[in-house]
Symmetry: C2
């Protein structure tokens, strides 16, 4: 056991680290970023057992990273504060810069960033009014309805192949899904490119947009 004088301070600091030291908890935080979920929804979305999900959520709540709200028989969780979302973004960027393995795994999952050429939320914000840019929301219609990038076209991934002709060939298409590690928008970009479109994913997805410029949310 460590015995240095400042131990209690660093023990408290470590509580945040411990909260971030588990893949399931990090996944739950990403799911909860700018959304609210019940325990059951989170368990399903994360592919984790219900009881384990509940236990991890309480761990996160103990670290003041999430808050819960009882709504009848269900309990809904959300991030405790917008600061948590901001910090999560910084944390993920920092981890990506530190760990070559992380970059490799992300690349394997989502595709090579050099090929995909993601657009940042800032860049997209500056080009929102450009008529040659079409913003494509490939999440479900329900997610689109809960908030989306202003001017975005809703086209859930399952419908994309059949609705390609709705998209102007001359435009540059920026496709996004929910989170920073969501595989849907890279897949959409690849499909679009196979059909001759110029397409890019939005970096960090809707979460990235909300973090950078939540004030311009459309609903």
């Amino acid at each position: 056991m460590a015995e240095f004088v400042e131990e209690p301070i660093y023990a408290q600091l470590a509580r945040i680290g411990k909260a971030l030291a588990n893949p399931v908890r990090l996944r739950l935080l990403d799911l909860l970023d700018h959304r609210e979920f019940t325990v059951e929804q989170l368990a399903t979305a994360a592919g984790v057992g219900l009881k384990n999900t509940s236990a991890q959520l309480q761990h996160l709540r103990a670290a003041n990273l999430v808050t819960s709200r009882k709504d009848g028989t269900r309990v809904s969780y959300r991030l405790a504060d917008p600061q948590v979302s901001t910090f999560l973004g910084l944390y993920q960027d920092f981890a990506g810069e530190r760990l070559a393995d992380l970059r490799q795994v992300v690349s394997d999952h989502l595709g090579d960033p050099e090929t995909l050429q993601p657009v940042t939320a800032e860049e997209l914000g500056q080009r929102l009014d450009d008529p040659h840019v079409v913003v494509l929301d490939v999440r479900s219609a329900a997610e689109f309805d809960q908030g989306h990038v202003p001017g975005a076209v809703s086209m859930p991934m399952g419908e994309l192949r059949d609705r390609l002709d709705e998209l102007p060939r001359a435009a540059t298409i920026v496709a996004y899904c929910q989170g920073p590690y969501c595989v849907v928008s890279p897949n959409a970009v690849r499909l679009l490119r196979e059909h001759g479109y110029r397409a890019h994913p939005l970096d960090s997805g809707f979460t990235g947009w909300a973090r950078a410029g939540g004030q311009r949310l459309a609903s």
Copy 2:
């Protein structure tokens, strides 16, 4: 065992969290912030066993947070990159805002921030040329020699009581020691106030200064 598809991504992300999930490792990172230490020096400074110190350092190195350098028979560690220092500062601020317990423990150790009224590095930077502001370095002479705030007066804590008359009574004194949780500068501030001086600690100490404006370091 978690089974969701993105598990490998979040497992990698969790590596950084795990590195930050231990009080000893956080303490070592703070010690290494803007300084270089051998394993033995770190073990002594942190009050942790040598073998444990070595083991934790290797954990930090595996996460690419520190690098090591062999110098004869000794091994010196330092932060892998200035980004690590920046992130550490963000992490500590974030933890302080999330955890009331942390604020309480810090307050118990260092004193109530409302009473101490720490000066931020930015504020100090703007007032460096003010002749009514005296910057006081209460670290050891060796630490002073390795780098200090420009214009600072070196007066190690042990000599402070006997050298009070070297300080002008009319001035506002900003005292600093090394790290964000260093207890020396708050003690110096209390001693100075007892003797009628107007004194404040520098927020996050020399580390905070180096993080904010390392370009203005004096040596």
